[in-house]
Assembly symmetry: C2
Homo-oligomer: 106 residues x 2
DNA sequence: CTCCTTAATCAATTTTTTTTGATTAATAAA
DNA sequence: TTTATTAATCAAAAAAAATTGATTAAGGAG
């Protein structure tokens, strides 16, 4: 099957992909996760569990949503998973003004 | 009770308000509604019902969500309600690149 | 190997959102 | 006044998303 480039994506697919990304942003906890990760440059699940007082399974759940939407990158090191902001995707998606709220000085 | 300015809003409130706006954008139908309204400058519910092949109650439901998030303006004329894009809010929220997908040349 | 830590996943439940069809209210037209 | 049009709202049902606690798997330490 041929690769689908941006230019050959139809409007419907494009809007669906966009909606997925906004859905990932559509939760205050997930926005806070993005903010926390940004402030630490990179964070593992246990860091966030502690900082945000959320159970591990909930963190993993929300991180997966952000990861699937392409807003986070993940790097496994041993038993740890380190998550960081995909700044290119954030910049592509949201305004500078809002970027400064979610990922100040990132 | 005193008015709450942007500067006195705490981070929690700010993230919740932002999440509400992204929630409004987190649906391909609503993105399409924004796009359709933009292309016509202004549209009433019956226009959109016809163009998008959606029942009236569903349109009104989605329009209300977009309106509550501040992404649309509404003007009643007789029995009609005309909706238009709140471009200031769109610009404040999303990147130029994405603005061009949702509201091209608006 | 055994024990401990880390994090992903799972299944069941709860909560939220969306859909549907009907009703209501307001205005306009005949 | 009667009839038709427009759109908001409502209540019930369906669908989707989030929460919870437990289990699993993979590494690292002793």
């Amino acid at each position: 099957m041929a690769a689908v480039s941006e230019s050959t994506k139809n409007k419907k697919d494009e809007l669906e992909e966009l909606a997925l990304k906004y859905k990932a942003l559509a939760d205050p906890k997930r926005l806070e996760i993005l903010n926390k990760i940004c402030l630490k440059s990179s964070a593992c699940v246990c860091d966030l569990t502690e900082e945000m007082d959320l159970p591990q399974s909930k963190l993993s759940y929300h991180l997966k949503i952000l990861l699937n939407a392409g807003l986070l990158d993940k790097e496994a090191r041993g038993t740890w998973s380190f998550y960081s902001i995909n700044q290119r995707e954030m910049d592509r998606l949201i305004s500078n003004q809002i970027c400064n709220v979610i990922t100040p000085s990132c």
